[in-house]
Each structure stands twice: as structure tokens, then as C-alpha cells.
């Protein structure tokens, strides 16, 4: 898993073509903006919902791979929707990676944002780069899910460092190239000193 804030390399590849995403936002314009970004990232299947009620009906019927929800919505807001989903018992949707987006989070609602069970919250303004980085991050997020009192969701204790695990081939190659270059540089220095 990449660390939070770690930037993606331009040459790294991502495959989101098979991902079924759902975007929930009461603003038609914001829905369209997020949809355009997802389409550019290679996502083909997208559900766009303007209300939590509409989203709930789809979540009961279809498997979703990524959920993007706006925090502030009339009637049922994003926090309530995520809390409902996590407690819904719907398999596998209850465990789906959830990114919440917010133009602003009111002071009184900060604890709700922390406790609703979302995988990550992005505050606007955010760029396409940030969105893609967070999608990759939540996809690779391997925090366990916890039930503690009213809370059901990913472990809220973030690890700052990358989680140890199998390194990707490209990363291994890059690491070996850097080691080889460092070794060559050291050898060159040693030769210079010997001369």
C-alpha cells in the first residue's frame, strides 16, 4: 500500500477498466465533473446518483468496487449513507472502499466524518491527481475492519509509513537500478581515490 500523500509515478500504470464505481452527489455539475475524471482514468461502469436514497437501491442490488460520496446532501447526507452501508450486512458492498468528498466540513460534523466508516475524506478543492492518488490508496488500503461500539469501518489508526509487503516488479527494478548506480558511483570514487 502506498503511503498517504505519496505521489504516483507518471509511468506507473493503473487498470480501472473493470471497476464499477458509484458517485453520489446532489449537485448535477459535481457529478459530471467527477464522472469525467473517472472516465479519463479508464473507468467504464459508473453509477451516478443525485440522492442517497437512489444510491441505496442500487447498493442493495449490485456489487460496487468504489464509492465516491459527497458529505453534504439534503435528506440523507453522505455520512448517514456510509454509516448505513457499513452496517447493512450487504456482501461485499459493506466493505467497499469509500471516498467522501467535501467542499467544507462544519466544525460540529468533524467527528461524524471520522466515525461514519469512510476509507478517506478529500476536501475540495482537489485536483485530478489527488483523486487518482486517493483511489489507488483506498484500493490498496489493507486496514482491517473494526466494530467498536457504534463504529463499523476501517481501522481509524492510520499508518504513516508504507505497509511492508510484496513489492511491485517495476519498483524492484527501479530499486535495483538505483542500487547499481550507487554501487557504480562508489566504485568510481574508490577508483579515483586509488589513482
Amino acid at each position: 500500500m502506498s503511503a498517504i500523500g505519496e505521489t504516483l509515478r507518471e509511468s506507473a500504470s493503473v487498470n480501472l477498466s473493470g471497476a464499477v464505481t458509484m458517485v453520489v452527489d446532489d449537485s448535477a455539475f459535481a457529478l459530471e465533473l467527477t464522472g469525467q475524471a473517472l472516465m479519463a482514468f479508464g473507468v467504464r461502469a459508473r453509477h451516478a446518483c443525485q440522492s442517497a436514497a437512489e444510491a441505496k437501491e442500487i447498493l442493495k442490488e449490485q456489487t460496487i468496487d468504489l464509492l465516491l460520496v459527497d458529505c453534504e446532501m439534503p435528506d440523507m447526507d453522505g455520512f448517514e449513507l456510509v454509516r448505513w452501508l457499513r452496517r447493512s450486512g450487504l456482501e461485499p458492498n459493506a466493505f467497499v472502499p469509500v471516498i467522501m468528498t467535501a467542499a467544507h466540513i462544519r466544525r460540529q460534523r468533524v467527528s461524524e466524518a471520522r466515525d461514519c466508516g469512510a476509507s478517506f475524506i478529500i476536501t475540495k478543492p482537489f485536483s485530478a491527481t489527488t483523486l487518482l492518488e486517493r483511489i489507488v490508496w483506498v484500493g490498496r488500503d489493507n486496514r482491517p475492519f473494526l466494530e467498536v461500539g457504534d463504529y463499523f469501518g476501517p481501522d481509524r489508526r492510520f499508518r504513516k509509513a508504507p505497509v511492508p509487503g510484496e513489492e511491485r516488479r517495476a519498483d524492484l527494478i527501479r530499486k535495483r537500478e538505483q542500487e547499481a548506480a550507487a554501487a557504480a558511483e562508489a566504485a568510481g570514487l574508490a577508483e579515483g581515490e586509488a589513482a
Partner: protein, 157 residues
């Protein structure tokens, strides 16, 4: 308090992201910027409409409609941030976020100086119309707004 830990499960998304095929991050981001650029004009229209709405939200006539008017102003400011954010119109976002900070920090029953909304609406209009090279003027507007917000936030406790 008891804690139930569910075993770590790899998400479908994780499997897909790392699978063969797909596109490079560079290509994905270039496409995203191009796609979003086609929506710039629409975004500017939304921004303009939000500023107009902020300018024309009627001042509350009493405590009974204060909460509804504040909510209206808050919604317009957040919709402005929604539209301006992807196009990196950060000055507009900062000004609107200041208003949101202030409204969002208040209890519904707390008194509110409506001139704050008027000042923000005027400043947003000015920021919208100033040319990009007017950086000092923009900075001055944002600084003044920030002072107002910080002073009022201090009063709210």
C-alpha cells in the same frame, strides 16, 4: 468496550488496479485535465450563478429566518467551491471557504452579522472580475477577508 476485528480482505479494486493492461498515470491525468477543460465554461457559469445567489440572498428579517438564510449562503458557497476547485481557481475557493468556516462554526441559534455574507459576495465578485495579473489586489482581498473571518471566529468561541 469490545472490539470485533474482521479479517483483512483484498478489495476488488486492489486486484483490478494492479492487473495487466490499463493506462499510465500520466495518460490518465492528461485525459482527466482535457475532459475537465471541456467543462470550464460551464464551471464559470455555475460560479457566476453562485456569486449572484450570494449577492441576492435576502438579509434575514428576524431570528426566525436567520438559520434558513445562513444555510442558503452556506450552500451557495460550497457549490462555488465544487465548481471552482477542479479549475484551480483557488482565490475563489479560499474566499468561499472562509464564509463556510464562519457559518459552519456557529450554533443555529447564535446571532450572526449578515454583513459578513455581503462582504464575501462583493469580494468574490471582485476576485472573479480581476485579471489574473492582479496578484497583489487578490492577495489583499483574501487577507482582509481572512482577518474578518478570524475575528468573528474568535468571537464565536
Amino acid at each position: 468496550m469490545s472490539v470485533i476485528t474482521h479479517p483483512v480482505r483484498k478489495s476488488n479494486l486492489a486486484t483490478m488496479i494492479g492487473s495487466a493492461g490499463g493506462i499510465s498515470v500520466g495518460t490518465a491525468l492528461a485525459r482527466a485535465r482535457a475532459n475537465l477543460e471541456t467543462m470550464r465554461e460551464q464551471a464559470l457559469t455555475v460560479i457566476d450563478a453562485s456569486i449572484t445567489a450570494l449577492e441576492t440572498v435576502p438579509a434575514p428579517t428576524g431570528p426566525e429566518d436567520m438559520s434558513a438564510r445562513r444555510e442558503q449562503a452556506y450552500r451557495e458557497a460550497t457549490s462555488l467551491i465544487d465548481a471552482a476547485g477542479p479549475f484551480e481557481l483557488f482565490d475563489l475557493c479560499r474566499a468561499a471557504a472562509g464564509l463556510c468556516d464562519l457559518i459552519g462554526a456557529l450554533d443555529p441559534e447564535q446571532p450572526f452579522d449578515w454583513r459578513i455574507v455581503t462582504v464575501h459576495a462583493r469580494s468574490l465578485r471582485l476576485l472573479q472580475t480581476l485579471p489574473p495579473e492582479a496578484a497583489p489586489e487578490r492577495a489583499h482581498i483574501l487577507e482582509s477577508l481572512n482577518e474578518v473571518v478570524q475575528r468573528k471566529l474568535a468571537q464565536t468561541g
